[in-house]
Symmetry: C2
Subunit: 447 residues, 2 copies
């Protein structure tokens, strides 16, 4: 169940089946305690009550959702998958064979690829109900903002680009949702909206079937209400470490704190979130120490920009040829290469990223997890400002897994997350450690 | 025009518009010397005459092809793109909104994604006619072989997995075609069939819109009849170096010869092709010297296998869940991870690959291009044996551009290619140098 502390600002929080975690909902459906229709009806009611404010969906049809639920309820118990009857929201950048996929772009209105993204196919196979499409920043990059508002305060951004996916889970409109991250598009909205999320190790989960932005970085991620929810989808998506994690308690765990070169940009909310988390870790018996990034890592934000924008020029060449200057101005400038980025600089950025990946894997190897900020602070006033990937893009570039741990509330009453990261392919261990930290943070008060 | 030497074994070679290079065909259409219908009719006649033997197409409709040609001929001259009226074959792994995309898999018969791959959208935008789908090895990996035969000798394989794409160009059935390479699937068929081809630097051209195999390696490539044809598509696909290449002559060029750790597997045809090419280079005034790969490079073939198979497990997870043991046995074993590959070994392979990329860029930097074998020998007897990626997979792993130079004929009367490679993002220079070498090889006799 959701801890009340982190959702205190969301109206009606915790009241109704729509607030069940995915794990709990799946369990209750599997035991015949509730039907998929019960759950979907609660979700529909919540969306009906809140959509005027939150606007998390670019496509949603309640009648169709009920029909899916009834079909699921008719399936014999012995033919059901692990997500049977559980509704999931899909970022509107990922293809769904039975719903439009419009990238929140004026140039793709009515766009309707008739195939499923790999993750959507896996979700259906596991028995999940594909509930609808979550609004996104245009092309999951920039340009047109999602219509979505932060459920905790509609004057605030939910973050971008997976705006609707994070807000829908935070607002009790769906227990699970899917996003994508190329800079900070999964973790940032999770921090701003106060929900659990994972951006796994790059290419550990297929992101096939969506509008590519930067193939070296694009990563599928997901949102849930508990660490168990993240695990549930990790199973469905085949995400695994070399060994199953055994994390019984925080006592004795070795946790590194990595403030990253972006640390000077951390605001009070983030400074306090880090301080509070470290204090809770120490109180629980964890060994906390610092992990300093070597000086070479200072070049990573620029390397991220170099690689992302260079790769965008190949990924968006069809759109550049078709729509030209009708694309949004920042994208036009990137595609025209106004910054005069060279292949030489691109290769240097790729080499630096590759070196730092290997170095960070080694630096982080002695630890059970690495604690780092999720965002510079709480959600800024929206909708134009969706926040920045300040504390995310380095990890995206490094291909490292990141889990957002929610639960803390800043002085302004808004949620603030912290990130757990670690070497490549330690995703499941991070979820396990994050779950323990999340439990320790329940009831913690900052400042 | 095509040199007769390298197509001596293809019946009817050189007779008719269907044998024009794409560059020449585009020029003649642009000048009004021929119509798109003239060209397409010649292509249709050729396919009708040869399809029983070559079987390069998994989908082709002559009436539709003529309708496309007529529509193209109706477009005013001032509204035409660089490929106006030129037919192109598309490997049946890439999505085409108006034709099925079936991956040559029994599990995807009738599969019909209604969207275009990025390359297909760019081709249409340039005025090309999407002629049909070229047969492929199942999923562009292994399993079910393409029905395609080598146009030079139907008892031989055209190579895989871009079997139909290479054979169609080699047989005069289409001047241009598109393939993909994850191991050696573009360059190997080019060598066996005796056509020009390029596998560009990884991710310099978008491969969005196809069945992903290994995202770190998957690369779009293309086939043509001349180096100019490769350049023509390089423009359409936005492939560019930092500086436009200026290659006036082979005289004074610095060419390295890299025999790679696979050299002991080179057969006589390849040994002679390399010797002959080196002799022609020296005769033309090029400075030829050896480039030795450091010992660390010996690990690259294993690293390629580790990364490819690991990434296949995420890419094919939806198929594994849906089709299970009904997939072909080798794929089942890879997806089940019978080889017990670990994440630790995967990361080690990724680190090795990244290190060697940087090292090779430096080693190759002093040279204008690096000469290396395309295949171990000429096309083996087919259809089950499609040859091996022995001399290709290292370059795919390293992300380096590769151009196959055709023109040499081995003692068995079959074509044998050589590859020009170089640092990342030197694609256009390689095409330019390859064009000069190709001209030097015309009329050259081996042995």
């Amino acid at each position: 169940m959701v801890g009340d502390a982190r959702l205190m600002a969301v109206p009606g929080s915790g009241q109704g089946l729509n607030w069940l975690s995915a794990s709990e909902a799946a369990r209750q459906i599997a035991r015949g305690q509730i039907t998929a229709r019960d759950l979907v009806q609660a979700v529909i009611d919540r969306i009906a009550a809140r959509d005027d404010v939150v606007r998390a969906w670019s496509w949603f049809d309640p009648d169709r959702a009920l029909a899916l639920a009834d079909a699921a309820d008719a399936v014999p118990m012995n033919q059901r998958g692990p997500l049977h009857g559980v509704p999931v929201g899909i970022k509107d950048i990922l293809f769904t064979k039975d719903m439009p996929t419009q990238f929140n772009s004026p140039h793709f209105q009515g766009h309707f690829p008739n195939i499923d993204a790999a993750c959507v196919a896996l979700l259906r196979d596991a028995g999940a109900l594909i509930l609808g499409k979550n609004d996104t920043v245009e092309f999951a990059v920039n340009g047109k903002r999602a219509a979505t508002r932060n459920p905790h305060d509609p004057s605030r951004t939910p973050g971008g680009s997976s705006s609707g996916s994070a807000a829908a889970v935070a607002d009790g409109q769906v227990p699970l949702s899917i996003g994508t991250q190329t800079g900070g598009s999964v973790i940032r909205p999770a921090s701003y909206c106060g929900v659990w999320a994972i951006k796994p190790t790059w290419n550990a989960v297929s992101h096939e079937g969506f509008k590519v932005c930067a193939a070296s970085f694009d990563t599928l991620g997901w949102y849930g209400r508990t660490a168990d929810d993240l695990d549930l989808l990790a199973d469905v998506f085949g995400l695994h470490d070399d060994a199953a994690p055994m994390i019984e308690s925080l006592a004795g765990l070795r946790i590194a704190v990595c403030r990253t070169p972006a640390w000077p940009q951390a605001e009070n909310a983030t400074l306090e979130a880090m301080t509070t988390t470290i204090a809770e870790l120490r109180a629980a018996g964890a060994q906390v120490s610092d992990l300093e990034m070597p000086a070479a890592f200072d070049g990573l934000p620029d390397a991220h920009k170099m690689i992302m924008q260079s790769e965008m020029r190949s990924a968006f060449l069809p759109e550049q040829r078709r729509f030209g200057d009708a694309l949004y101005p920042e994208l036009v400038g990137i595609l025209r290469n106004d910054a005069a980025q060279t292949r030489k600089d691109l290769v240097a950025a790729q080499n630096l990223a590759a070196q730092c990946r290997a170095v960070f894997d080694e630096l982080a190897a002695p630890f059970d997890a690495v604690l780092t900020p999720s965002t510079a602070g709480t959600a800024p006033l929206g909708p134009d400002n969706t926040g920045a990937a300040t504390f995310n893009r380095i990890w995206t570039l490094l291909h490292m897994p990141c889990v957002n741990i929610p639960g803390l509330v800043a002085k302004d009453g808004l949620p603030i997350g912290v990130t757990l990261t670690g070497p490549r392919f330690t995703d499941r261990r991070l979820i396990a450690v994050a779950g323990r930290i999340g439990a320790a943070l329940e009831g913690a008060r900052m400042g």
